[in-house]
Symmetry: C2
Subunit: 237 residues, 2 copies
Amino acid sequence: MSLTPHPIDRRQNAAQQIHRQLRDWIITGQLKTGAILSEPRLADLFGISRTPIREAMKKLEEESLLDIFPQVGSMVAPIEIDIVRDSQFIRETLEVRTIELATENVTSSNIATLRGIIERQRVLVEAKDPHGFFVADDELHDTFMRIAGRPSVWSLLTTTNAHLNRVRYLSLEDLSWLRMVFEEHCDIVEAVAAHDVDRATHSMRDHLRSVLAAVERVAIAYPEYFKQENETAKSLS
Amino acid sequence: MSLTPHPIDRRQNAAQQIHRQLRDWIITGQLKTGAILSEPRLADLFGISRTPIREAMKKLEEESLLDIFPQVGSMVAPIEIDIVRDSQFIRETLEVRTIELATENVTSSNIATLRGIIERQRVLVEAKDPHGFFVADDELHDTFMRIAGRPSVWSLLTTTNAHLNRVRYLSLEDLSWLRMVFEEHCDIVEAVAAHDVDRATHSMRDHLRSVLAAVERVAIAYPEYFKQENETAKSLS
DNA sequence: AAAAGGATACTTGTATACTACCATGTCTCT
DNA sequence: AGAGACATGGTAGTATACAAGTATCCTTTT
C-alpha cells in the first residue's frame, strides 16, 4: 500500500493514533475501497505489535469503514449509497434543528467567529485546496453545534456518518462544486447573523440536500469507491 | 461481583457476547455505577482469556458506560445528566421526525403489528414486569422506525444513547410511572393508526419529554447511580 | 507519633505464541 | 482432460507472557 505512516508516540495510546491515521487514509481516499488491510502487515508498517492494530481495525469496522472477514481478510468497505442516505437523513434532521437553536442563541462574538471561518474558506477556495476546505467545512458545522449549545451532536455525526463524509470529501474535488458549497455556507452564516430562523433553516436544508445530490454525481465519477450491486465477490489475494 | 455469566458459545465471536452481557448488566443495574471491572477477574469469571474481555470493555468505554483508567483500573461510569440531556435532544429530534414519516407511510398491517405490541405491553403492565416492559418499549420504538423506512436510526440510538437508556430502565421501576408511559404509547399508536400526523408528533414529543422529566426524579431516587458534582474521586480498592 | 520512603501487589498496555479456519494451487486418480 | 483430494500459506480469534505505571500499606526515620 506504500503509505507513509505518521510515527507513533509511544507515550500515548497507540491504538487511538493508528485508528485516526487509518480513518484519515480511508476518508481522504489514500486507502481506496477494496484495499486489503492485514493485521501483521500493518503491524510491520507501523513498527508495533498486532494488538493495537487490531483494536484500531475493530473501531473502523464499527464505523463500517472496514469489512473484516474472519479467517479470510479485511478490506476497506465500499461506500454504500443506502448507508449514505440514512446518514444524510440523520444529519439533516439534527442539523436543521440545531441551526434553529443556533440562530436563536447567536451572539455578536459568535458571528465574528463564523465570519472568520468564512474568510478562511474563501482563501482556501481561491487556493483550490479541497482538503483544507474539507477541514474548514467540518469546523463551520461544529461551530454551529457549539453555538446551539449541543457540541456533542457534531462528534456523534463525525463518528457515525463516515460513509457520508467519504462522499463529501470526494465531491469537493470538483472545483465548481467547491465554490457552490462555499456560497451556501455564506448564505447560512448571513442568515444566522441576521437572526432569521426561517432563512437559516431553509438555507441549511438546501445545503445538506445539495450534498446528497452530489452522491449521484460522485457515484458516477468514482464508481470504484462504491458498492456495485451485481459485482462478484472480490478476490482478496 | 457474583454475577452468573451466560456461557460463551465458542463457535461465535466471544468478545461480542461478552460485550452484550456486560452492557445488559450495566443498563439493568446489576452492575452499578462505580463497580470495578478488572480484565483478569472477568477473564476468570467467563473462563476465557483477557483479549476478548478487553475488546468488550473497549466497546463499553466508547458507549461511555465504562471509565478505563490506564494502569489504575476500570469502573462502571456514573450516569451524567448532561449526557442524558444531549441524548434526549438527539432522540427527540430524530424520533419526532421519524414518527411523522411513519404516520404518512403506515399500512393496515403495520397498525396490526403496533396494536399487537400494545396488547403485550398491557399484559406486562398488569403483571408489573418493568424489565419485560423495557424490552417491549424498545420494540415499539424500533417498529416505528421500520415503518418510517429508517430502521438504522433505532440502532444508532441504542448504541449511542446508553446513558439515557439507563435512566429509562430505572424510571420504569416506579409502577405508576410505568402505567403512564403505557398510556402514552397507546396515544401515539392510535394517532398513527388515525393517520393524524399532528397528533402523532405531539404525542411523541410529550412522551419523550416525560421521559426527560423522569431524570430529575430518578436522580433523587437513585443518587448512587449518578455523578455527584463535588464528590471526591472514588477509591478503586 | 508523624512523616517520608520504598516494597508490593495490582492495574492496563503491548508483544508474541498458538489455534482454527479458509482460499488457493497442485497433484493424483478417473 | 477434468474433477476431486490434499498440501500449503495466510487470516483473524484467542491465549499468554512481559512491561510500565499507580495506589496501598508497611517499614523506617526523624
